[in-house]
Amino acid sequence: MAKIRGAIVVDTEKCKGCEVCVPACPTEVIGMAKDVNGKGYHFAFMANPEACTGCSNCAIVCPDGVISVFRVKADE
């Protein structure tokens, strides 16, 4: 059975750490980094990458448009 796998790339230097993407992810993929970026923000990252379906929810709510989304159909 073909499974959908996804991944996101956060432009960590532009991420403002607003956390709006976190609740937007239906599969609770996203966490906030302990580290801060050059502007002092804790940026978002895939804390739970396996769960990502590439649904793009996070990307479309990200106010700063810093998330890119990738998606493949992967055979199990």
Binding site: K16, K39, G40, Y41
Partner: protein, 183 residues
């Protein structure tokens, strides 16, 4: 006596209110004071700075480009204000987040681990009071009791219960100042 001070850091670090307490402290000992912030469209995370002058005379320009003392709390401010100190002036900084440390040889330099100490005290909001303590250790231009009076004046009544905590932070700051270089 006139002391011309710049306090500079990030927006949320309490730079403006630290300046305000300092200015109020001056008033408490009958000095002339001025407090002049940089102001701008609030782009959060941007830098904020305030020029504070305490003087025994009428203050002319509240806006300055060279200072006796600089309190520096982030890298941008270090880049901008290290060079604005008068020779013989005093630079006090929090090394947290600073990548390029001060290099001038003709000034006094002190460090105060404000962020770390505040975190240790379990309250990041008192960060600026720790810094103030450090400042006072380096530049004892106002008496501590006047600072406490200033604090009372600048805090709304309903926050007066926090004064002991602030006082503790100031003391902590005073005790924790590290000398990097004196000339």
């Amino acid at each position: 006596m006139t002391e011309e001070i710049i306090i500079a850091g990030f927006g949320g670090q309490g730079v403006l209110s630290m300046g305000k307490i300092l200015a109020y402290s001056g008033i408490m000992q009958d000095q002339e004071v001025s407090w002049m912030p940089s102001y701008g469209p609030e782009m959060r995370g941007g830098t904020a700075n305030v020029t504070v002058i305490l003087s025994d005379e009428r203050i002319s320009s509240p806006y300055l480009t060279i200072f006796d003392t600089a309190v520096i709390l982030n890298q941008q401010s270090m880049d901008k204000f290290e060079k604005s100190l008068k020779p013989g002036g005093t630079l006090i900084y929090d090394p947290n987040g600073i990548s390029h440390h001060p290099t001038r040889k003709d000034i006094n330099i002190y460090r105060i681990e404000g962020s770390r100490l505040a975190a240790e005290m379990g309250n990041t909001k008192i960060f600026n009071m720790v810094i103030l303590g450090g400042f006072l250790a380096a530049r004892p231009i106002v008496k501590i009791e006047n600072v406490i009076e200033g604090l009372k004046k600048s805090l709304p009544e309903r926050y007066h219960k926090l004064i002991p905590l602030n006082q503790e932070a100031i003391t902590k700051g005073m005790d924790s100042l590290e000398t990097v270089q004196t000339i």
